[in-house]
Amino acid sequence: MIGLSPLRVDGREKVTGAARYGQDLKLAGMLYAKVKHAEYPHAEILKIDTARAKKIKGVAAVLTAADVPGNTAFGAVIVDNQPLAEDRVRYLGDAVAVVAAETAEIAEKAAAAIKVKYRELPAVFDPREALEPGAPEIHEGGNQINHHKTRKGDVAEGFRQADLVIERSYSTQRVDHTYIETEVVVASLDHDGTLTVEGSHQNIFSIRAAVASFLGLPLSRVRIVQAALGGSFGGKDDCMSVLSCRAGLLALKTGRPVMLSNSRESSLIESYKRHPYFLDYKVGVKRDGTLTAMEIKVVADGGAYASMTPFVTWRSVVHATGPYRVPNVKTDIYGAYTNNTYTGAFRGFGSPQITFAYESLMDEIAGELKLEPLEFRMNNILRDGEITATGQKLDHTVSVGQALQAATSAAGWEEKRRRFSEENRTRLLKRGIGLACSYRGVALGAEGVDATGAIVRIQSDGSIDLTTGLVEMGQGLKTVFSQIAAHELGVPVERVQYRRTDTSTIVDGGPTVASRSTIMGGAAVRKAAIAAREKLCAAAAGELGADPAELTAVGEKIMVASDPDRAIDFTGAVALALAAGMNLSSFAWHVSPPIWWDEEAGKGNAYFTYVYACQVAEIEVDPETGKINVLEVWAAHDVGKAINPEAVRGQICGGVATAIGYGTLEEVELVEGVTKTVNLDEYLIPTAMDVGKIHSIILENPDKYGPYGAKCIAEPTAELCAPAIANAVAHAAGKRIRDLPLNLERIVLGHKLVKKQRRAR
């Protein structure tokens, strides 16, 4: 069962159209809600006139921050995000009022009838300017959200030892998650006073905390239930808290169920994005290609609210040098408030930006030294037992070298590097091949407590209920967790039913983020299933005349491991256990191994283990038009152990496609805070014609901390292809582009076109 790829347990409902997503929910008497958005990116609210809106027939409630019974703001790290703006709006996605009505059309009309008087305030849209003295202050206390650092050795000394010091600046853009399902919730009040919010939730416990605090309810009276989730990628967290607070408030005030959904337009304007980064790298290197020092400064655009900025930038600070042996390191990262759309968690979480910078840079340095990029990397990569930039000694198999070898040999790297360079002299369309590698800390790391639970309940007929607080968002969690439970109990996967994720069924087990589910949740499921199995073994021991420790569960039987003929049916063992008065519900809790971080010193054992990867991209570029075609990608990822190889492949292919979009197509255009790309005709994501052939190469170096040796896969897949493409473009066209996306204008003109207004607003 472990290492096989059974069909997805939630597949059938998805191919038949039976799966019920948030937009498919319909409750009797349900009202429809709409928000009134801000009209300035930064303004003081002087007066909100709701009188006309309230008079419209069919309107059930028009509410503002003045109606909020609890705390008007929430936030996982910094409490600054207001689902209904109180006295000030800070970006154009803020809401000043929310309406519930009998139909969506009436609600829309009522929202338009709300009149708001503002005093416009000076705004700031560049995070570097926002950190200058005298910049307009967006939140009290200044615009710096956070500053993280790493310190190792002495960079001044490192630069003295260098033969060459190279300085380069890079930038990355704001991109949208573009889950195909936009955000939606339905809030309703139970007769016992419990408020239930069902919808497209990624992190049910953080959303519950926000709703309870906003409405002044105890956590036990707020229930967050996940509907089938149409993609999330880190994106349905804070913005779902916002929707849930607004809809919850309306349900509380009207006593009726309320649906609030974002159209694609509202989703692009309101929901948070990936952080734009401005990165300055200074690197010292010896003639022979040995790195001596790195000094790095990064400014991240946090937008109007802090959201995950402190954690995203912390992940960046830990990994900023890449998987290289650098004796002297000084890294500083600043998160800044601006009046742009806020930024937060997005698959990769602070790594795609820095990977783009350091992997572009590695090729640039190799070029300066006239070394081959692969050889240059092989000489500098971290090896077993070496020390990272944060001073952590790596005590697992450090497989970045293996990943580089695997991906490049599958791609035919050396031959293509040579051949394309020659052929390009005469070819019209230029070919290029580029690579990028990375390391990535698994799970939350020292950013917080990392623990999660699972419940395995064996029913009297031998069917099995599996419950955790972690969610399916398409990645295959239900299937992998069901596989683990089935494996430990010796039954087929079909016997296991993964319960819908609901805050009222299990204690808070943290968020489904940081690619932590398999290693953390999988470990908890395994423990709970083993505990349940031990009960069955204890119950069957007498009947089998053996010691419980000699028994095992295989093939729907409890049997003597050394003598499989002495066996009893799984359901028979269940009956014996129940007859003996045993409790066949097992709860297990899994806590991550100890890790630490010293924020002052900028050092620590940041994560308990790491994964390593390399991707190679082969591209073709038309130097006349600047169009890039990504022809083929080879992606080698060490996952520890692939519990479900087909699902791992799905993660790799999906992550690569996301990164192709990030690298070549996507950018949420904001002009003075106004979103110019408000639907999918203007915000372009890759289609089946934009994504070339993807070859997944799964490497397995089992990790002592993972269930069956498994580590993770979701996020590392999305952090490599953009720099691999940038390096391939440099190989093909001889042009180094240091800003994302690598779009037509940049390749042809060398800079970005100043866009004309494309759409009147």
């Binding site: 997805r8 059938r12 889950y179 399902e181 993609g231 699902a647 790799i652 996301t658």
Partner: protein, 163 residues
């Protein structure tokens, strides 16, 4: 607004309805007929989540008015399987790991079904063109293309003629 009379066949069932003249086909299916397997992802014809088959051709139901479908035949994802028995494309999507979040899946399968209806042995490029109006953010399309190829290679009974 005065309602208009509409006779329409959906998944083989004839309906006689009275609808608003500005009702989208998407809303007719989801709201009036409770066929919620057809999804909405953009409302402007860009994502393909709302794809249904209209007289044998894949169309975006968010761009078509219900009134335009008078006397015509529509197949939605709910109409593709034969009771408990999955359509070969549905089965191939499961077998090849082509489903993740599943939100694009109904539209994707219907676009593929319309392709195989018109062209039972498409090349990989033809498959990619046929599904290029269906956005998927999860899979990178690799396993989807494999699934369609596998279904196209299946025993050519008359299953796709059902649409």
């Amino acid at each position: 607004m005065k309602k208009i009379k509409l006779d329409i066949t959906v998944n083989g069932v004839k309906h006689s309805l009275k609808v608003d003249p500005n009702l989208r086909l998407l809303d007719l299916l989801r709201e009036e007929l409770d066929l919620t397997g057809t999804k909405e992802g953009c409302g402007i014809g860009e994502c393909g989540a709302c794809t249904v088959i209209l007289d044998g051709k894949a169309v975006n139901s968010c761009l078509i008015l219900a009134g335009q479908c008078a006397g015509r035949e529509i197949v939605t994802i709910e109409g593709l399987s034969d009771g408990e028995k999955l359509h070969p494309l549905q089965q191939a999507f499961l077998d090849h790991g082509a489903v993740q979040c599943g939100f694009c899946t109904p539209g994707m399968i219907l676009s593929a079904a319309a392709l195989l209806h018109a062209n039972p042995a498409p090349t990989e490029d033809e498959i990619r063109v046929a599904i290029s109006g269906n956005l998927c953010r999860c899979t990178g399309y690799t396993q989807i293309v494999e699934a369609v190829q596998a279904a196209a290679g299946k025993d050519k009974g008359d299953w796709w003629l059902q649409i």
